[in-house]
């Protein structure tokens, strides 16, 4: 077992999958010699060559659309959007085409492909290098949407995504890339798509989170235990679509209180789906209002340090929200 950070785990997952299956290839902007702007594909070009690690023009629709064509042909493409903020030119391909091929062809075409997207703020990226835009895609039937929060999950989920016969959107919070190191199982470590994980058991309330929010929620839980004697259960959703309702509802049944946390803005955000599911299916277990903690209702993360800090959801905001909910 090696100690890796998240970006290293992602690179390792791609390397192992490319080695295992020659149909797997990577395409995107600067993924070749440079190894990607975040270094996620570093070393792959030297190992696998021009064709399997393919630098594309600055054309996101082409990256997604050509990956879809290649997937239909029989390859297993991993497309990289340089930033999730730049995925919109590919929106037509992802939403009109990639998500619907299987259904519209009555199951006769499949699009086994992965789109990796660095998302999220806290890195001085401002409005156009910080977006958490997962909700556009979690709202789209036909896509699977994954957002890991640990190096082991990043590796295991990416490997599962590559092997999945459906299109998987893989959201990587860029602040987590080099945030911490943790043990990652060697070899064929697969984490199933569609399974949440109880990252820390507790009994007073449940905190539902994903991506970078996992680390923030765990830190908040530590503070709550130490300072308030509140035992918060932290549930890392890991996969947003399909949502692991069994684990979500099981946690609410234990704690009776639910706090849903994400960095994307609240209105119509993914937390609304989690909250509605809990309200509909766990009503009799609830002993407090299902609560959402989310990014503010502004069009993007503002640039200046003070403004960005105001925007970001972190341990302190989670502790505040959890204290209010626990006291209810």
């Amino acid at each position: 077992m090696a100690e890796l950070n998240i970006v290293e785990a992602i690179r390792l997952a791609m390397d192992e999958e490319m080695e295992r299956d020659e149909r797997v290839m990577v395409l995107g902007e600067d993924v070749g010699k440079k190894g990607g702007v975040f270094g996620a594909t570093d070393g792959l070009w030297a190992k696998y060559g021009d064709k399997r690690v393919l630098d594309t023009p600055l054309t996101e629709a082409m990256i997604a659309g050509a990956a879809a064509g290649a997937a239909i042909y029989g390859l297993r493409p991993i497309a990289e959007m340089q930033f999730a903020d730049f995925v919109y030119p590919a929106f037509n391909q992802i939403v009109s085409e990639i998500s619907r091929f299987h259904y519209r062809s009555n199951g006769t075409f499949s699009v086994p492909m992965v789109i990796r997207m660095p998302y999220g703020g806290g890195v001085h990226g401002a409005l156009y290098h910080s977006q958490s835009n997962e909700t556009y895609f979690t709202a789209t039937v036909g896509l699977k949407v994954v957002a890991p929060g640990t190096p082991a999950d990043a590796k295991g989920l990416l490997k599962s995504a590559v092997r999945d016969p459906d299109p998987v959107l893989f959201f990587e919070h860029k602040k987590t890339y080099r945030l911490f190191r943790a043990e990652v199982p060697d070899g064929d470590h697969l984490v199933p798509i569609g399974k949440a994980e109880v990252a820390r058991p507790g009994k007073h309330l449940s905190i539902f989170c994903y991506g970078y929010m996992r680390a923030c929620a765990l830190e908040a839980a530590e503070i709550l235990a130490r300072e308030d004697g509140i035992e918060a259960e932290v549930v890392d959703l890991r996969t947003l679509r399909p949502l692991d309702t069994e684990t979500v509802l099981g946690s609410v049944a234990r704690t009776a209180k639910a706090l849903v946390v994400h960095e994307a803005n609240r209105f119509g955000g993914f937390g609304a789906e989690v909250a509605a599911t809990i309200a509909e299916e766990a009503f009799e277990h609830l002993d407090g209002p299902v609560t959402r903690l989310a990014g503010p209702e502004v069009p993007g993360v503002p640039y200046h340090h003070d403004l960005e800090e105001w925007f970001m959801v972190g341990p302190a905001k989670i502790v505040d929200a959890a204290r209010r909910l626990a006291a209810y």
């Binding site: 064709k51 082409m62 659309g65 050509a66 290649a70 239909i72 390859l75 037509n92 949502l243």
Partner: protein, 352 residues
């Protein structure tokens, strides 16, 4: 004189007398299917029809060099003749338009005109125009990566040629010399908007020069000219020399669709004059000049085609309707049982 020249022309292209007659028959067949579906639409059996009438010469000629079960096609909504030439049966096409449950394109899920068929290497088509061009480029990219002897062909109208995705597709195909043939069927109208209001410069093929590959204009009502251009493009792609853009100048003999009435925006005299460019009439005349077709043979071919369409229609109409109980199935290739709201079937229906 004309007779000798035409005869030499198809022989020079490596086509036998039987080949050109088969091409003619294929055009007749596509027209007969198209006309039958308009009848079915008017009879209330099909909700909507979008026609390929006037495009048959280009589609048959251009698809003719494509190798079935080896090459790939990403067609568009007027591609009846292309789909037939690439392997779809008349029954497949009518079944799809009737939205029957075992329709090979979509099992009754898609509107008429959304050609596709996994068994034929015909990529399932959607409605946003131009998206399929990137799929063809992706297939060509995959074949290039794998070193496979495969050519991808994609078609679209001149209205679609202005979409950004077409630019992204052609640029990428040009960068890597991918084995793809772009076919723009230019009928002069994007629904109601004429060419001069949609295409700057008035010439779609000229754009290829900017991407570093050939763009050729062909008379889309001349199937042999279309065949010649496509065969050259196909050879070029197989040699690894890259893409070709073929702009086939065709005529749209019908309104845009069954929901449109082109008399609102086209001069009746203009529409009447199109009939002189009808590829069927033109090719029939050519074949007569070549001494390959006389009235008797023509009538025989038309009768054969009519019988084929009659039989196929009967069989298609007898096919089962789609089952509502299956409408929630085949959303994901690998659903996760009990995996949550994304894949859970409504109460009373089966899951995936």
């Amino acid at each position: 004189m004309a007779k000798t020249e035409t005869r030499q022309r198809h022989v020079e292209l490596g086509l036998s007398d039987d080949d050109v007659l088969a091409m003619y028959r294929q055009m007749l067949l596509a027209r007969a299917v198209d006309e039958r579906m308009w009848l079915m639409q008017r009879a209330g059996k099909i909700a909507f029809i979008i026609s390929g009438q006037g495009h048959e010469g280009a589609q048959v000629g251009i698809t003719w060099p494509m190798r079935r079960n080896q090459d790939w096609m990403a067609p568009y909504y007027r591609s009846i003749a292309s789909a037939l030439t690439f392997g779809m049966s008349v029954e497949d096409i009518i079944t799809a338009h009737l939205a029957k449950g075992d329709d090979v394109s979509s099992g009754g899920r898609q509107m008429p005109g959304h050609y596709g068929g996994a068994p034929y290497n015909i990529v399932s088509l959607s409605s946003p125009v131009g998206t399929q061009v990137l799929h063809a480029v992706g297939i060509a990219m995959a074949a290039w990566i794998r070193g496979d002897d495969v050519v991808a062909m994609t078609s679209y109208g001149e209205g679609t040629s202005n979409q950004g995705e077409i630019h992204e597709a052609m640029n990428f195909a040009g960068v890597h010399n991918l084995p793809v043939i772009f076919v723009c069927e230019n009928n002069g109208y994007a629904i109601s908007v004429p060419l001069e209001k949609q295409v700057a410069g008035g010439n779609v093929a000229a754009r290829a020069q900017g991407y570093g590959f050939p763009g050729v204009v062909v008379d889309g009502s001349d199937p042999l000219a279309c065949y010649a251009a496509a065969r050259e493009a196909h050879d070029r792609a197989r040699r690894g020399d890259g893409p070709t853009l073929i702009e086939a100048r065709v005529v749209r003999l019908t309104s845009h669709s069954s929901d449109d009435d082109q008399r609102r925006y086209r001069d009746p005299a203009e529409v009447e004059a199109l009939k002189e460019q009808d590829p069927l009439a033109r090719f029939s005349q050519q074949l007569r000049e070549m001494g390959l077709l006389a009235d008797e043979r023509d009538e025989q071919l038309r009768a054969e085609v009519k019988a084929e369409v009659n039989e196929a229609s009967k069989r298609a109409e007898a096919r089962p309707e789609p089952s509502v109980a299956e409408a929630h199935q085949r959303v994901y290739a690998n659903p996760i049982p009990g995996g949550g709201t994304a894949t859970t079937a409504p109460a009373g229906t089966e899951g995936h």
